[in-house]
């Protein structure tokens, strides 16, 4: 059995007197699609932010590909193969779709401002533009290349973000609530897209999500958080049957009714 790609041990984050999450431990294997779910306020997004080095956990350890992950700064994540999407949309509103995706290629390119301005970076630009367009093609937005992102509807903006993540050629994608704020049709599309990304690109995916249906459909293993505590970890089937999970989502009433 190969080493897990991502290894989290006893991770804890507190904001003053408030505990975002505590004692979180899980492994993500190479190529796995792992989901973190839980009711509102469970600490999922905080966990995500900790895993993208935006928040500093106060306890615990994270190993990524054998390296001490907590020593890394946000800027280094792209270089070691981690890409993330944002819950509140991290796209660059005033830029075009293509420009957005091209920023994803930034860490794979080399030309600085000087060379760019002097026109010495043409070949590199073209090469990476191809890659960007490819990522956009995969996600289904190639025809929108020159549209200003802020003029696009929410669902398309999410796709732009996804394309940008793909363009980074990551090994791991962290998707923060990829279907938040969408209607049923959009959710199905994105779910399918995520599944395709996982299957065709052989990426490791870590998803934080609210929508049970989507998660149960695409995830291979799931971690359930409730009030910052991990309460279950396992396959979708296992998690669905877990009593603590049912109670967390539906409250005590169901037990009594049963």
């Amino acid at each position: 059995m190969s080493e897990p790609l991502l290894s989290v041990r006893d991770l804890t984050l507190r904001f003053g007197a408030v505990t975002a999450f505590a004692g979180v431990s899980f492994d993500v294997a190479r190529g796995e699609l792992f989901a973190v779910i839980g009711p509102n306020g469970a600490g999922k997004s905080s966990l995500f932010n900790a895993l993208s080095r935006v928040y500093e956990p106060c306890d615990g350890a994270v190993t990524f590909d054998g390296r001490d992950f907590l020593r890394l700064r946000p800027r280094q994540l792209a270089g070691i193969g981690i890409a993330r999407s944002f819950q509140n949309l991290g796209v660059f509103p005033a830029l075009t779709v293509l420009e957005n995706v091209m920023v994803g290629r930034h860490h794979l390119m080399r030309a600085g401002a000087l060379r760019g301005g002097l026109g010495l970076a043409r070949a590199e630009e073209l090469r990476h533009r191809h890659a960007a367009l490819e990522a956009m093609e995969f996600v289904g937005i190639r025809s929108l290349a020159d549209a200003a992102v802020q003029t696009l509807p929410y669902g398309l903006q999410k796709r732009v973000e996804l394309a940008r993540c793909l363009a980074m050629e990551p090994r791991v994608m962290l998707l923060d609530e990829p279907v938040a704020g969408m209607n049923a049709a959009e959710r199905a599309e994105i779910a399918e897209l995520v599944a395709r990304v996982h299957a065709e690109r052989e990426l490791t995916l870590l998803i934080v999500e609210h929508d049970m249906a989507m998660v149960m459909k695409v995830a291979e293993r799931i971690l359930v958080l409730d009030f910052g505590e991990p309460i279950a970890i396992g396959t979708p089937a296992e998690v669905q049957r877990d009593e603590r999970v049912i109670r967390a989502y539906l409250g005590e009433e169901l037990e009594v009714a049963a």
């Binding site: 509103p93 005033a94 420009e99 920023v103 600085g112 760019g116 049709a185 199905a188």
Partner: protein, 358 residues
Amino acid sequence: MSRSLARRGALPAFAALAVALPFGLSASNLTTATFVVIAAIGATGLNVLVGYAGQISLGHAFFLAAGAYTGAVLGEDHGVSAALWIPAAGVVAAIFGALVGPMALRLKGLYLAIVTLGIVFIGQHVLLNSAGISGGPQGRTFPPVVIGPFDFSPGQTLQLGGLTIDRSGLYYYLGLVILAAATAFAWSLRRTRGGRAMLAVREREAAASLMGVDVGRAKVGAFVVSAALAGVSGALYASYLSFAQPTQFNLDMSIQFIAAIIVGGMGTAAGPLLGSAVVFALPSVLKSLPFVPEEGTGGISVGDLTSISYGLLIVVFLVLEPRGLVGLADRLRSLGRRSAAPDFTPAISLNTPEEAHP
């Protein structure tokens, strides 16, 4: 498609107009045009800092001064050729840019704005107290541009075929060449990795960082480019004036450049050009208005009228058309094209956009 075609037609026409302009203008209007062209170089620089990288800087006048006095010290005090002191002005100003830039890493928004304000004041103070460099409050002379056979000293003219180009014209063409290069640089920058990094920092700094963008490098880089162009602009400006006092490189000057890029359209290529044409020609336009009294007589002074106009222009444009004249032009153009089909259709069906529009 049609948009870039229009641009392809417009660019050579615009260039031809720019080249032919001096021959159609009166002496005083040519002077104004020359100032506009020289200032536009600085405005292009500020556009990179403010328009691309989104950093608020009120310190542009400081970098113009840095360039101007470098030119003076090298060109006049040490007899160095203009072919050297013009680029040197850019380099020295760029070094100052590299020193000020890192402050943008620690300080955000308003804090940065006020610090850059302070830099203008401190710069002026240092200059006023360094008579050796600046001639003190009384000011000093600045060297004319002399490159090989081209002598821009007062009174000199150039004969080209049957055409006579006077001093203003010479500065105009030199400025135009440098402006064209600066604009090309800025245009190219926008479309490549470095420029995109600046834009990303402007839009969402945290997200940009997670994509591997070196935010510090982007900001400092923007300061360096901006300062370099300001330095060249300042050196040419002072050289053309041939005499200047340190108090001229003040907050008002910084504001003029800010007004120029706002009016023109921040972040665009044509913005600094259009904006400079409006802002730096404004004083002479106002002077020629019928109800403005001559200097020294009662009533409202041109200086006050100019300042009021700058202020109003900034407010009006930001409230009504924040994308400046370029944005205004876009709006007018799309009014004409309203019947045409939109560029894209939002996905409303279960099909992905690719399937809806094969």
